[in-house]
Symmetry: C2
Subunit: 318 residues, 2 copies
């Protein structure tokens, strides 16, 4: 698979138009005053199914040919990608099989089934979900759509930053959360095309800084599943497609602590009246940490999603 | 003071342009499926200072002459109106004194002080805030801006519904929360001008249905301060300006229970990823209660605000 370009982002934008929400760009004078900067928050927590992942999933499935549509899609994920694939597949009448761990929260399994997906469970201590995915794909002719290392997924995710630049113009800096790099590499394609001088930062949880290690060492670093509340950034390594884009186009990769994520989550709820999942707080938490370096700048922040169990959200706020 | 007209709403829209946010209209397929209707949520919780009240306050203060600006403004409010006056006054360099109940949410008191307002507290069960306000106005030459019974306030509040209709076109029904009637009567002016056949509903907490009693009896009914989590709708009676508009233009006034408000609040957080204060949940709670009557309809819901203490919000969600 070849590395996608900005043209692929533009094509993706055409495919998702009318299906994905064009999410609002929110502002906060309190945040502006705190940072001495002008901030623009792209609110993908208000995206369909609650996260940017719908963009990449819908774009990828839109490119299926008739045989692929008939045979169906398979995806492995315990989070937003699973729901994004299940919902996109339902909308296009494509059968979807989602591989989830047998100890996944009942609410996530129910949500995926609610979107019409067939859930296949596996034992996360004894079985390899990627191997199961490949086997199902081979045996039943299904197409495997991985959560980030796929050109159509990356191009789809890039449409969020594209919309942001189209709405607010060029920026001095953009902060994007980083797990496997689908959103960051897609955002990089849009940034270099629409705001080439913008400083682009990926942001990871401190406990899972494989992306930072990779960028600094020049090779994809693999880590153990990190312990962090940012469950969407618990990936163990970047992808073979996302890493070269990040190497080429991203200025730096920053990290924040779980406590800083909770602070940002509380700010979003108290001051901006939005529910943001821990992973979605990475970008703003990093911007706050940067201090005076952002003074007088125009700063974009990508809020990735808002899918957090209410009980957990309430516990983190209290 | 004469009853405002839609022309006053149009003039208010011109005055607040560039100062108030043009808040987004949110949609939710889950809500649509639940009601079998097409819902449009005007998200005034994303308004400046967290509630629609900024519209009316800014409009009212914009009309002050030089002497009024110098002497300052006084306002009584359980919350959002106070912040709205304090912030608007700060923006225009007008001194502001705010009379608030001593049991008002801590976040609202702190925010009012944060906007530079001088806070004077009173006991809401024993003292008459209107008398305190009138006395301060008389003694110190300040202009009293009441929270709802004022033509400029009503006209300002009407700009939210005006924006909603401009964005989504005519509607079959519109649900608006009701305390003293500022938002409802302003919305009525916009509705009758822009979507004349729309069924317009005011919604009150069950415990404080003075508006419903007033509409049905034809006179303004006064009640004791009701005990409800909808602290923005704890008003004891409609106004002499808001009531005639409501009588003329509103189709009915509905009520919902506190439990129904909490259900709606949880829906907003879990499915729409937004923080809505209890009062802001009135409209949607009533729409959900209406059942099949809304099937196939285009329905507007005004979300009034999102100013709720995080601790209280977390407790209600959990």
């Amino acid at each position: 698979m070849t590395i996608p370009t900005y043209d692929d982002v533009v094509a993706a934008a055409g495919r998702i138009a009318g299906h994905a929400h064009r999410t609002p760009v929110l502002t906060s004078r309190t945040a502006n005053e705190e940072l001495g900067a002008q901030l623009f928050f792209k609110a993908e927590n208000l995206q369909r199914m609650g996260a940017f992942k719908f963009r990449g999933a819908f774009n990828a499935l839109s490119r299926f040919d008739a045989a692929q549509r008939k045979a169906g899609v398979v995806a492995f994920s315990s989070g937003n990608h699973a729901q994004a694939i299940a919902l996109s597949a339902k909308l296009m009448g494509i059968p979807a099989t989602i591989i989830m761990p047998d100890d996944a929260p009942a609410s996530k399994v129910a949500a995926t089934r609610g979107y019409g997906g067939t859930v296949v469970t596996y034992n996360r201590y004894r079985e390899d979900r990627e191997a199961i995915g490949r086997r199902l794909a081979q045996e039943q002719g299904m197409t495997l759509i991985p959560p980030y290392d796929h050109a159509d997924v990356i191009a789809g995710q890039g449409t969020a930053a594209k919309e942001l630049f189209e709405e607010v113009g060029e920026l001095d800096a953009l902060f994007v959360c980083l797990g496997g790099g689908g959103l960051l590499s897609g955002s990089a394609l849009a940034t270099r095309a629409l705001s080439p001088r913008c400083q682009l930062y990926g942001v990871e949880p401190e406990a899972g800084n494989d992306g930072q290690q990779s960028l600094r060492s020049g090779v994809i670093v693999h880590i153990e599943t990190p312990k962090t509340i940012a469950d969407g950034a618990q990936t163990q390594h970047l992808g073979t497609l996302t890493f070269p884009i990040i190497q080429r186009d991203v200025n730096d990769i920053l990290t924040v602590s779980d406590a800083e994520l909770v602070d940002a989550m509380r700010f979003f709820a108290a001051r901006m009246k939005i529910v943001v999942e821990p992973t979605g707080c990475l970008g703003f938490a990093a911007a706050r940490k940067m201090g005076d370096a952002l003074r007088g700048k125009r700063v974009g922040v990508l809020i990735s999603g808002g899918n957090v169990d209410l009980e957990r959200f309430a516990a983190l706020l209290a």
